[in-house]
Point group: none
Chain length 202, copies 4
DNA sequence: CATGAATGAGCGTTCATTCAT
DNA sequence: TATGAATGAACGCTCATTCAT
């Protein structure tokens, strides 16, 4: 009986954390990190300001929590793609499609958070980013070993891939907002894989 | 006489704006945007806090001003490169080298500011970004017309180029901090131009 | 049957009050009054925060309760000494020794609480203090009647005695922290009894 | 001109510090340290809460400032008395009279603050207390050398003197509130100097 | 124009107390 | 009774902006 009650409480508690994180994420995406205040958060989450501190030590922990969730989702999905029995180029295409299509708000999150983390989070960011690069690097290495890709520096190539995706997602010039995500991803992958030079790698 | 005096005043005023912007930029690069306070700015610019408001409406206008200047410098330099009598690929390489080497602190500025602009600045950002893309797009078009580049979509290609540069500059995984800027630029341009696929563009 | 059950309940209840007071006292002595929070208290007393309110109206009542207990202990001990068949001077010496030696943490308690009582407690403090003075005054009167002490104003003399003890216990200059409590008590009593003037009471 | 203006500003600024300290002191004496809030202080000093921080780094600095002022006043006055060409016993009597008569609110201040200082202030307190003891100890030594006082331990004797004064000032039993300060001081000095024992120091 | 003290809304956070379970 | 999450007023403090001088 006690067990059941404890489980209930744990469930409720986990749900509260979830609600708080969801609400915070929504506010950040809508108004930017600077406009995420504990008061605003409490209001939108329909709890009191003090209650938040039953579930998170402080504001920073909430922001970190959001980053964690978003990254985990991203890494999980990419890892799943990396595990498929496909040629490396197809994996990269799939990853591009995924990043474009499934993460419209993660993009906004990254926009808002990526460049403004307090020092303790920076280290986390670096490590998570390395895990992301690892997945891409692995796929690129697979392509090289299979003779599919030219012998390049995989880490740098992985970063370049990421950069292309990010830039087209962020799209500060608002040039591509009309395009289908899938199409955009295809084109990005095309440029990345073939380069733009005529008769490259003859 | 009055005219001359007015010109003097305008000159002095412009100089004050310059000093304020320079100082703000230094603070942002050194301490981050969150640590740019009007008091700190006044102190380092050796004027009073109140005086700043004679030259700028508010803090936001200062931050916008910094973005403006940084962008203008960037665009001027890239336009100069674009105007040289060189093959398009060499121009892109030169642009990459320039962005990596000459703008280490502009990178910090972008990091700090790019993703945190209040709505009115967003529009400015879009327009400026489009001008940046225009320069790159023009160079890429030149390459296509010269038969140097394959027939691709130039705007998308320009964005991809930018994305690669930005990602390697930001380098959140801290993978490339040991490399020479020129070398990194060369490698980035190489990947961009040739792609990574074996036997691309057969 | 019901009576017995009620007694049980009263016993349990009294025990709970005891535990709460003990725990509060430990926290105050260890961390100071400002660090006695209901949460901390609940945790260390191994009950829930809400339960405390079944035994005490509010935090203030707890603090008062601690004062009460500490005072009662002090008064009981002093009364026991006062009841011994000894010369008055020896009683005072014994009281000094007792206060120095046996109540090191009561001293901390007094430090933390004595001067910070809310108005309702002030009255309690006054009455308790008078009881304390009564014991001392009685002993001093005994000394006077026995021809042991000079004819002085006993209440004032009792207060002076208390003041000497308190000052040496509190020792804000940290001048006596190395001395044995017994020795310090002896010296304090010596000064108190004989004064410092040469050839006093000619 | 500039000099004059600067002096004016320094004067105004010093006056503001004074007003803030006075007001804080009044609140502490009236309501206790716990009820000294920045808001309350601002209200009673008739300035805004933010303005306070133009004159003090933080609340702690204000409390320290109050302690400093009170102690300096006390030490200055006692030093002046110690410098008079009087027998030691008369100096001590004068000091007692001074402490009783001239510092009714310093007493309340000490009550409120003495036992609750944050660690950085504790050290200050210790040092100031030692200076206080130094003055008393010097006077007692003078008495010993002059053959006026018996050969006792001067530091301990000084502490005892202080303790008697403090206890009678604090007067938690409210036994002496009707007495004239001068009379009380006289009696306290009498007990201190002669002790209470019959035929002491024959 | 220059100054810098004054302002006061707003911040993140704490904690005694309440109350549905 | 026991629980512990929920509450919300209050805290110390910051800082963009204003304005009398």
């Amino acid at each position: 009986m006690a067990k059941l009650s404890e489980k209930m409480k744990a469930l409720v508690s986990e749900n509260m954390r979830h609600v708080i994180l969801e609400t915070s994420e929504r506010i950040i995406i809508r108004d930017g990190l600077d406009n995420l205040t504990m008061k605003q958060l409490a209001e939108e989450a329909e709890i009191s300001a003090g209650s938040i501190y039953n579930y998170f030590q402080n504001k920073e922990e909430i922001v970190s929590g959001i980053m964690d969730r978003a990254f985990e989702r991203l890494l999980d999905s990419l890892e799943a793609i990396a595990g498929r029995p496909l040629p490396a180029a197809d994996k990269l295409r799939a990853m591009a499609v995924f990043m474009f299509g499934d993460f419209p708000q993660v993009r906004k999150l990254h926009e808002a958070l990526m460049h403004r983390l307090p020092p303790p989070d920076r280290k986390n960011l670096r490590n998570r980013h390395r895990r992301l690069l690892d997945i891409l690097t692995g796929t690129i290495r697979q392509g090289i070993e299979a003779g599919e890709f030219s012998v390049c520096e995989p880490v740098l190539a992985a970063s370049a891939f990421l950069g292309i995706i990010r830039e087209l997602q962020f799209d500060p010039g608002e040039m591509f907002s009309g395009l289908e995500p899938e199409l955009l991803a295809e084109k990005a992958a095309g440029i990345y894989l073939s380069g733009i030079k005529c008769g490259a790698e003859p």
